[in-house]
């Protein structure tokens, strides 16, 4: 077993590993902080007046608050080597059911809120059962359930926008305690704090790390692996339900197509924060910094009047970039890839280069051909 042997090599340079172990706990926070500083510096040059306004800070915080509970829960899911691609739909569906209960059936607002969170938890439970009992891989399972939940939301709400909610809901979404932070920010920070206690001081947190770190070992030591995986999805669903409430309150409106980018956004925030997609490595403080970073980045895009749709591009690029970076940082022997040029010279990679060149060439050729043969433009609108 080559993996084992590599891990057991006792002769790694003690100085380097010492520095690495001492830096390791801060790794998660250093990455996003560095990127936050970069954004701050960039915006200080580009748009200081509009970016560094107190009202803009408030916007950033409100945006971040919405994602904090979900990022907390997603940290557990990803630490267990799982993923949840259904949280946007869970948020929308929970929000819509809450809206109907309050507006159509006259439920008290507080019961509506608790219903949304419980329904979210229930949908998370369904995810967990699909993954553990039906043995559908998490990626496919939650992607399919995403379609199901979004479908139910559309069936329920059709094209309707449900708007104007009781004060309790709008307070949760955008209220402000006179003497303190905005209410959603307080909620977000409290869920993060609760997540920290969960991670460090409970069986669930400990087993989440163990399951992600070494699933076979976790099973062998008698840990109820399936149950704790289900717990993570239930927590995830509940927090997505809470986000549905917060979103409804923030906009004072909800519709079936709300929250389309929650999945990517939350996963990006967690991964940027140093929680490893390969499991076992959890950092809640990193997830917190990741959420803040993404909110600042998106706010910067808005401030620079860059089209909304670039958000999606930015989130995707951030995920790839940070996973690549962390994987590279955690590689045991980095001297194998001394130079990029040398790596490109291996026969295997040369074949890949040739393939890339062929595809780029083909596309270029087709574009040129189309250009030459082009007739009159034929606008679809």
């Amino acid at each position: 077993m080559p993996g084992n042997r590599e891990r057991m090599n006792p002769t790694t340079a003690p100085v380097a590993s010492d520095l690495k172990t001492r830096l390791d706990p801060y790794m998660a926070i250093i990455g996003p902080l560095a990127m936050i500083v970069m954004i701050l510096a960039f915006m200080a040059v580009m748009e200081p007046a509009r970016y560094f306004r107190l009202s803009n800070l408030n916007i950033i915080l409100l945006e971040a608050a919405l994602y904090l509970p979900m990022a907390m829960a997603m940290t557990f899911v990803i630490t267990q080597r799982g993923i949840d691609l259904s949280i946007g739909s869970i948020a929308a569906l929970s929000g819509i059911i809450m809206a109907f209960l309050i507006k159509q059936f006259g439920f008290p607002a507080w019961i509506g809120v608790l219903c949304a969170i419980s329904i979210g938890a229930g949908l998370g439970l369904v995810n967990g059962l699909v993954i553990t009992k039906f043995r559908v891989p998490d990626l496919i399972g939650t992607l399919a359930m995403d379609l199901v939940y979004r479908g139910f939301a559309l069936v329920l709400a059709k094209g309707l926008v449900l708007a104007r909610f009781p004060d309790l809901i709008t307070n949760i979404g955008r209220g402000r305690l006179d003497w303190f932070l905005p209410i959603p920010v307080t909620i977000g920070l409290l869920t993060m704090l609760a997540g920290y206690v969960l991670l460090r001081r409970t069986h669930f947190g400990r087993y989440s790390i163990a399951i992600g770190s070494n699933p076979e070992a976790a099973e062998m030591t008698g840990i109820a692996v399936e149950r704790h995986r289900i717990y993570a999805y239930v927590l995830m669903g509940a927090m997505a339900g809470l986000a549905g409430v917060m979103l409804t309150g923030k906009l004072n409106a909800i519709q079936a197509t709300s929250a389309p980018y929650f999945n990517l956004h939350v996963i990006a925030a967690v991964v940027v924060g140093g929680t490893s997609l390969f499991g076992g490595r959890a950092s809640l403080i990193g997830s917190f910094a990741g959420v803040l970073l993404l909110s600042m980045m998106i706010n910067a895009l808005v401030t620079l009047r860059i089209e909304f749709f670039w958000q999606s591009v930015a989130s995707g690029v951030v995920i790839i970039a940070s996973v690549t970076l962390y994987t590279w940082l955690q590689r045991k022997d980095r001297d194998g890839a001394r130079s990029l040029l040398a790596a490109a010279r291996t026969p295997e990679n040369r074949r890949l280069l040739r393939l890339s060149a062929a595809i780029v060439g083909a596309v270029t050729l087709l574009l040129a051909l189309g250009w030459l043969l082009a007739g009159a433009p034929n606008p679809s609108g």
Partner: protein, 254 residues
């Protein structure tokens, strides 16, 4: 050599079939307190299957097991642990992102109730883990807070063993190829460690490919060949040639 005349555990006439394959046929085994029993044999001879039956991971197709002279059956590895039989596997079952204490207590955490809520008692687990590692295994880790992935093979093995011996009622410890992935120094240290545990009165069952290790540490050698017990010899009274002969089985038609 044998500090106790009566074995702790006996296995008699153990057979194990996987579908049509007879992995074990009519195997006997005795484990005595304060004794190291080495189990050797070629690849596929049935060593791992035999100890998996002893540790409750597999159930025998037929055959009986006795502990202190009383017959017993096991349905899972936790049954074995409850009876004082545990194993340290070839692939150490550590969660390498957790620290030493978390691994020693994995699945068995010490807790504390605070305001009606059960929380992990990380402090007590740390001090207990440190104590077990030092007092029973003689290992002091440079940093109890470090994730075990940053530790050496020998240290990680010490943690895996500490997990097994933490149960004060552990009586039989099975080790599957404990030195296979270690360098000479760490091997030396592991052999010393086995001697320490033996002196504490444990029955040690050591699966090994290394005849050096077997002759350095064991009291008896059980040789397996193609699912059968080819023989049991006293280490002090036999040579490597004897054992090798039993492993290869020179008289066979193939």
């Amino acid at each position: 050599m044998m500090t106790d005349a009566r074995p702790i555990v006996t296995m008699r006439g153990i057979c194990k079939r996987f579908g049509g394959v007879a992995a074990l046929t009519d195997v006997d085994l005795d484990a005595y307190s304060g004794e190291v029993l080495a189990v050797v044999g070629d690849n596929g001879a049935g060593k791992s299957t035999l100890i998996k039956i002893l540790t409750g991971v597999y159930q025998p197709t037929s055959g009986t097991m006795e502990m202190d002279g009383r017959p017993f059956e096991m349905n899972s590895h936790s049954d074995a642990i409850a009876r004082g039989i545990d194993a340290v596997y070839q692939t150490l079952a550590l969660a390498d992102h957790l620290d030493a204490a978390a691994n020693v207590f994995l699945g068995n955490e010490l807790t504390r109730r605070i305001a009606g809520v059960t929380l992990l008692d990380n402090q007590r687990m740390r001090s207990e883990a440190e104590r077990v590692l030092f007092e029973r295994i003689g290992v002091r880790l440079p940093d109890m807070n470090a994730a075990t992935e940053s530790l050496s093979g020998g240290q990680r093995q010490a943690i895996a063993i500490a997990r097994a011996v933490y149960h004060t009622d552990l009586r039989v410890l099975v080790m599957d190829e404990p030195t296979a992935a270690l360098g000479p120094q760490e091997t030396e240290r592991t052999l010393n460690l086995i001697a320490t545990l033996k002196a504490q009165g444990l029955a040690i069952i050591l699966i090994s490919h290394s005849l050096d290790d077997v002759f350095a540490i064991s009291d008896r050698v059980l040789v397996m060949r193609r699912g059968r017990r080819a023989g049991v010899v006293n280490t002090a009274e036999s040579t490597r040639q004897d054992v090798l002969g039993l492993i290869v089985g020179g008289n066979d038609a193939w």
